[in-house]
């Protein structure tokens, strides 16, 4: 199909699909390099409004376009109405910038941020007209590369992906582009890619692969020209990553292992990048992002300097520790914001010791008091249910804390005051490379009983409750720790119509159940299955840098209901993540 013919056919389709702006490109700060010799399609396997808000893809997009001669163009998973129309009309998956077919690119890079997007990965490959199985691809096909946090267990997608990038891609991506530029021969490209220590090529067998750590995060310049999405994006704001990694050690948290050690960006760089982004995007909000921004040692100075330059700016600090200091920081950063989020994760001290969330009841109450005292009228509190060793006391604790928060809110705003305590309880899903990787999920019927209890008990004025769909949580648990056979399940489910699994309106439970059954497995049994610490795990060949012994020690400590300190302040825990120059790097002592 000629290029102009493809463009006309795409335009024809856009007249009849929902939200055509998802497919048109042309946003501010997009990069178009029509004459580039090497083209890289960077894909997010979900809808435009989700994918455009992803910071990792924005970083890679800027990096390839700014620092290499290659062109990076963007791809998001077409919504089902568009995908169906594309198949009907024979229109292949295309990039947003130039509306060129993805299959004409040298590389299709897919970021794996969540397991529930895996069926969309297959959807993208198929829509592109690329053979679904890596083994069936030949000289004319792009190399399919997958990265992102969920690549840390590559096995469920191993047969569909040519190479997996393990870890942080800032440095490695330039090396990959250099290989693509050096030779057009697909087999030779794969041979050279296999030599990179952070790439896992399933066709080469389960050889050990090392997670890449971007040691220069703290000295590299922060991205300053993100693509500005159209109005429908889930996040429309500038954002500067102030810190990478977190050593708090929460035992359920994948990112807490996968991004160690902590590397902080200098305050001057944060301020400069933030102001530049505001100038070139037109956003009126700036977010200082990280896994726990209140832990960033330069946070107070950064807020002060940014507010000095832009006094009326909406400055947001997501992911704050539950304590009075972070609440005061949030209030200082954005005096107009009326909503604040705290994440105690568990409501009893026992459970917080089990999961290594080192906060106390007093700290939580003080934080709630500080939040309402600062004028916030919406308090969101995040919890998990179904955690290992959970008893009904822990669920009751969530109810008690919800009511306690309301009581504190009423003290500040009055019994009939206009404020809301919003309790959110998600379902614990064990993740690879965490101390809880050996634990199973709670059975679905148990989760439902607990959810029903929360619904009955947490009722009343000024209280709101939100719960996660048990079906999608179970699926996430069943495929997240999957193996190669999970790939069979995934393919069968996708062929039966599964896509956009995280979207309730598209979730196809029947397709997944049938697919598990056809593979001789049961969805719930996979999700709830405990792993024996002595048995090998499907992701054992992926070296995160954090040793398996450390994870096992942490698992044992969880059984002893003992928390572990943070190595930034409490001494080294010997997790294994620091090697040579790669170690915790704080900007202010």
């Amino acid at each position: 199909m000629e290029q102009h013919d493809l463009q006309a056919r795409i335009e024809d389709l856009l007249g009849s699909v929902e939200k055509p702006s998802r497919y048109i490109g042309g946003e501010v700060n997009e990069a178009v390099k029509p004459d580039a010799g090497v083209r890289v399609a960077l894909a997010y396997p979900d809808a435009y409004e989700v994918g455009i808000s992803n910071q990792a893809l924005q970083i890679l997009y800027g990096l390839v376009n700014d620092r290499t001669a290659a062109a990076a163009e963007r791809v998001y998973c077409p919504w089902p109405d568009m995908a169906d129309a594309m198949r009907r009309e024979g229109v292949p998956l295309f990039t947003l910038e130039t509306w060129r077919p993805v299959r004409d690119c040298d590389l299709l890079g897919v970021t794996l941020q969540a397991e529930l997007t895996y069926s969309n990965v297959l959807e993208l490959i198929d829509l592109a007209g690329i053979p679904l199985h890596a083994a069936a691809r030949g000289q004319g096909d792009p190399i399919v590369l997958a990265g992102g946090p969920s690549a840390s267990n590559p096995m469920p997608l191993a047969r569909f992906v040519d190479a997996f990038f393990m870890g942080e891609a800032e440095e490695g991506m330039e090396r990959i582009v250099a290989i693509l530029e050096a030779t057009p021969d697909r087999a030779e490209r794969l041979r050279r890619l296999a030599e990179l220590p952070f790439l896992y090529l399933p066709e080469r067998g389960e050889e050990p692969v090392e997670r890449a750590i971007f040691a220069d995060f703290a000295i590299d310049t922060a991205p300053t020209r993100p693509v500005v999405p159209y109005a429908s994006a889930i996040f429309s704001r500038a954002s500067v990553e102030v810190m990478r990694g977190c050593t708090r050690g929460c035992r359920f948290c994948h990112a807490g292992t996968w991004y160690r050690p902590v590397r902080e960006r200098p305050v001057e760089d944060v301020v400069r990048a933030g102001l530049e982004q505001l100038g070139c995007t037109g956003y009126d909000e700036l977010s200082l992002t990280s896994l726990a921004t209140s832990d960033y040692s330069g946070v107070e100075r950064a807020i002060r300097e940014i507010k000095a330059a832009k006094p009326d700016l909406h400055l947001s600090l997501p992911s704050n520790r539950v304590d009075t200091g972070p609440v005061a920081l949030s209030a200082a950063a954005n005096s107009r914001q009326r909503s604040i989020t705290l994440a105690p994760e568990a409501a009893t001290q026992r459970m917080r010791d089990i999961i290594c969330k080192t906060i106390t009841d007093e700290m939580i109450e003080r934080a709630i008091d500080a939040a309402f005292g600062a004028g916030y009228t919406s308090l969101k509190m995040y919890f998990m249910i179904g955690l290992p060793l959970e008893t009904f006391e822990e669920v009751q604790g969530i109810v008690d804390l919800g009511f306690r928060a309301r009581e504190i809110g009423r003290r500040h705003h009055g019994d009939n005051g206009r404020f809301t305590v919003h309790v959110s309880a998600s379902n614990f899903v064990p993740k690879p490379h965490t101390p809880f990787q050996w634990d199973g999920m709670a059975p679905p019927e148990q989760l439902r009983v607990k959810q029903d209890y929360l619904r009955r008990a947490l009722r009343g004025r000024q209280l709101k409750l939100s719960l996660h769909d048990v079906r999608t949580s179970m699926l996430e648990g069943a495929i997240g720790r999957g193996d190669a056979i999970t790939g069979d399940v995934l393919e069968a489910a996708w062929r039966a119509g599964a896509r956009f699994d995280a979207w309730t309106e598209h979730h196809r439970e029947d397709a997944w159940r049938d697919a598990f059954r056809a593979a001789g497995r049961d969805l719930e049994a996979e999700a709830t299955r405990e792993r024996d610490p002595l048995d090998p795990l499907p992701w054992d060949h992926v070296r995160s840098g954090v040793s398996k012994e450390f994870l096992l020690d942490e698992w044992y400590r969880s059984r002893a209901e003992r928390a572990t300190g943070d190595c930034r302040w409490d001494g080294c825990t010997d997790c294994g993540a620091c090697v040579g120059p790669v170690r915790n790097r704080l900007v202010e002592a």
């Binding site: 055509p20 702006s21 048109i24 042309g26 501010v28 500005v228 159209y230 109005a231 037109g282 956003y283």
Partner: protein, 209 residues
């Protein structure tokens, strides 16, 4: 609104323009009340997919020393691809939008388009169905767009906005399609002009030729 930018919705367009103004260094005034909103409006909502050579943006900027030429130049530099600011002037007295003129370009031969136009003009009533989340309605498009003419192989049609509503350009295109033997196919639609008149000038009916 040219090229792919025509697929932006009305609300997306407002958002795009607000961001462009901020990039250009302007502060948009906020409305009064509990939930202040930027004081900005586009005179006439445009259907998704409809290109336009005439959009009327009205915006209140903070400060009172704005040179229209400077505002235009800065906005030209900060608008995304396909969104092309053409002129800029201080706001005049408030006006009502009374209609808009559209160009409907069909792929069918010019003679067929000409014949469809003639047939359309000769009809007493041209009813098309409008579907929306609120349900289905039957619209007599001829009441609002009585006089389409052929120019350069395309149809130019003025669609009035009356006190009781209006027709959409794609509805006029469908009515034309229905009048053609064998149909005309889908039309590429471009808004050529937005027509305004002093407040209160909007009428209940247009004169039918």
């Amino acid at each position: 609104m040219r090229e792919r930018a025509r697929f932006l919705s009305h609300l997306e367009m407002v958002d795009v323009l607000l961001a462009a103004l901020r990039r250009a260094g302007f502060e948009v005034a906020l409305s009064q009340g509990m939930r202040p909103k930027p004081v900005i409006s586009l005179a006439l909502a445009r259907g998704v997919g409809v290109a336009s050579e005439d959009e009327h943006l009205s915006v209140e900027l903070v400060g009172d020393d704005h040179d229209p030429a400077d505002v235009l130049a800065r906005l030209v530099a900060t608008c995304p691809r396909g969104v092309v600011p053409l002129t800029c002037a201080p706001a005049g007295p408030k006006a009502d939008v009374t209609g808009a003129t559209y160009r409907l370009a069909f792929a069918a031969p010019a003679a067929a388009v000409e014949a469809a136009c003639a047939s359309y003009r000769g009809a007493d009533e041209l009813v098309v169905e409008r579907s929306s989340p609120k349900g289905r309605r039957r619209i007599d498009v001829r009441r609002f767009a009585p006089d389409p003419v052929c120019e350069d192989g395309a149809v130019h049609v003025r669609i009035a906005i009356l006190e009781d509503g209006s027709a959409k350009p794609d509805e006029v295109a469908r009515a034309l399609d229905q009048r053609a033997d064998g149909g005309l196919g889908r039309a590429a639609i471009t808004r050529l002009a937005v027509h305004t008149a002093p407040r209160g000038a909007r009428v209940g009916a247009v004169e039918t030729p």
